[in-house]
Subunit: 419 residues, 2 copies
């Protein structure tokens, strides 16, 4: 709840600055920032007659399309293993509601995991992420954290991975994922793998616990990131093809039937279309991946150039810079915490980012999450041109925003005795 309010407050501050005619650079929101492909818009339009209540898990068409989508990625799947919902967030909430035991969370991780756990009264065991990437607990620390929790009388029941990750924009190492799956097996943990950014891995397919521990892994995904359809609320999950998986499916259907009933039928038609992967859809995603990668790397270079540490982004559209190396310079300006850093970026430059505490990071760390996907233009036409450009950072609207970010970051870390 608090996290939502923090985001809202930031958004409102951005709006107020914009209304006052001041400069604004919105890097605070995980919006994929791209328009809707024509074939997808057409499917929505022709789906209008679908106004009946449908089954909770989704239509046969949508479930079969999602099953095919997983099967083509090497994970044989039947339609009965798939459930749709208005957003993968709803399915994550459902999973946390029905899975037993405490939840192991990598730290930092996406804002809503901890908030959902709190909502369903589930205790959380935080484990720091490794140096190389986010989205997973450091495999070297995981077992010790579990042992310590068990010694304290706690019962770890599930572990949540985000591959690729939000907030760091990185893909976990396959060896790390394997090691975590081994530990999960040893402690009999369910693995929830949030793979909503999987299609946006820049160079090669992201690893998935489905390849290592298919019988204990539930994958959640959706069309909000790969297809930039956040406002359409299309999420889905895949449960294992085991008795336990079938039981989980029934429990998820139970929760869904009492809260959201089903994903809206026209949105299920959209999902059936997109997940059958027609050519224009795969080309749209390929171009989105290129755009996110190109702009993400350019923004990365700006933070590195300003003296911050940062993991190089390998997926999605986030960065998680750390201003620790320039702490003394910032301290002179009264900036000693993440929230102070974020406030200064907003107040002095109109640059909106989210401070690390929203992701469970420590307040004393000078870290923030930077979303790069709202840089693609302020009109649908600009966004289309960004998507179809072979050199997007040279487009005037992107170049201008990068230049503004460059100046803002240099000014932020400039010593008070420099002119």
């Amino acid at each position: 709840m608090t996290m939502h309010s923090a985001t809202l407050a930031m958004n409102e501050a951005m709006e107020a600055r914009r209304a006052a005619g001041e400069n604004v650079l919105h890097l605070g929101f995980g919006e994929a920032g791209l328009p809707v492909p024509e074939s997808v818009a057409k499917v929505l339009a022709t789906a209008a007659p679908l106004n009946s209540y449908g089954s909770v898990a989704g239509s046969n068409e949508a479930r079969s399309a999602a099953a095919g989508w997983f099967s083509r990625r090497g994970h044989e799947t039947e339609a009965s293993q798939i459930i749709f919902a208005p957003g993968s967030k709803a399915l994550l909430f459902g999973l946390l509601s029905v899975l037993d035991g405490d939840l192991v969370l990598p730290c930092p991780s996406w804002v809503s995991y901890a908030a959902q756990a709190d909502l369903v009264g589930k205790a959380v065991i935080n484990v720091p992420i490794p140096q190389e990437s986010g989205g997973i607990p450091d495999p070297a620390l995981l077992e010790a954290a579990l042992e310590s929790a068990i010694r304290d009388g706690r019962k770890p029941g599930a572990i949540l991975l985000t591959i690729p990750d939000n907030p760091t924009g990185t893909v976990a190492d396959a060896g790390h994922v394997e090691a975590i799956c081994r530990t999960a097996a040893k402690y009999d943990l369910a693995i929830i793998s949030d793979e909503i950014y999987a299609e946006l891995s820049y160079d090669s397919a992201a690893p998935t616990p489905l390849s290592v521990a298919p019988d204990r892994t539930i994958v959640t995904s959706g069309l909000s990131k790969s297809m930039a359809l956040g406002g359409w609320r299309i999420g889905f999950a895949r449960v294992p093809k085991t008795d336990w998986g079938s039981e989980l499916m029934q429990q998820l259907i139970g929760v869904g039937s009492e809260i959201w009933s089903s994903l809206a039928a026209p949105m299920q038609a959209v999902a059936a279309h997109v997940l059958s992967e027609p050519l224009d859809v795969t080309e749209h995603i390929r171009r989105a991946r290129f755009l996110h990668s190109t702009v993400g790397n350019a923004v990365y270079a700006e933070f590195i150039g300003a003296g911050a540490l940062c993991r190089r982004p390998t997926a999605g559209f986030y960065l998680y810079p750390d201003f620790e190396p320039v702490r003394p310079r910032l301290a002179v300006k009264g900036i000693q915490t993440g929230p102070q850093l974020v406030q200064r970026l907003l107040d002095c430059y109109g640059v909106g980012v989210l401070d690390g505490t929203a992701f469970g990071d420590d307040e004393s760390n000078l870290r923030a999450r930077v979303a790069t996907s709202l840089l693609y233009g302020s009109t649908i036409d600009e966004r289309w041109r960004s998507l179809h450009s072979d050199d997007p950072i040279e487009l005037p609207w992107i170049a201008k925003e990068l230049a503004y970010l460059h100046g803002s970051l240099r000014d932020l870390v400039r010593g008070t005795n420099e002119a």
Copy 2:
């Protein structure tokens, strides 16, 4: 959860019979059974570019349209008092999550109230409905039930009314609603008024606690029933214009932000259109009301003719017949409970209804909920013609189903010694 499975099992049995070429009369599901008006389909089609994440409570357009809709009904409302969600069920879940204390429920009442209360760990105080109508606790029994609960150390915190009602298809008496509001004030109970069938009251506007106790009443509604858009999942709620109402709104936004994020943006555009009440929409609802009333009364006559007791429907598309007067005849056939009655109707005649236990009624009562809205035709064309007919029960597809119901019910209650 169990309730959902009961519905599913019934649906599956219906499907199996249909597949086997047997007669089927589906009276088991609360689907409004009408097609989508052209202007509404057009709004959905043109809303495709709305793919951005929006605010949790909904767009200004949708919230303002809903506020205007309430204001035109005599309840001055500001946009900030409105929240949208994927279905009013989600908002009811949110309300039960955030309101304190035990929940007073009329009995029988809609299947999901008790299931949701169970999901959020809220205790329920059941109070029987009055003879005249469903949807409200009998005002004469309410205070005694509260006193008894308090003596047992319980803390009643909220009361849930359904006006008009499901499962009885009736509208509560205005005097009863007033009396309940007085009792709610005396015991400081929040009033949740589920008014999703309000537009389908046959003769005059249904009473609402908003007229009597606006400061303690939260109204939930949606487009699933009046506009037959169940598969589009469009729900909304109105909170009081008080500090408590604002606090509730923030809590609902908190729950929504962690489970469903928002109603899909294209569906918000649909809501903004429908709730601004263009002429074709009001005409669609006026005709739907006439159709539901005409067919509902014809089905009512069949149950009365077969010797059942039944409240005459005054809204929506449900009946709640009681076969108590013919219990001896049914007993001869081995039917002594509601579930046995429903099973016999399904097995022998392919008539699908839901037994009263799904609504919290006692198993020994020979009661079932009958939905009349799937009688309007098996094609979109037939449903359009039903909607535009001035004499729908003479349409061949409706007449045939009524005749089949007539024969089935007469056969059900015929003595074994009659031919």
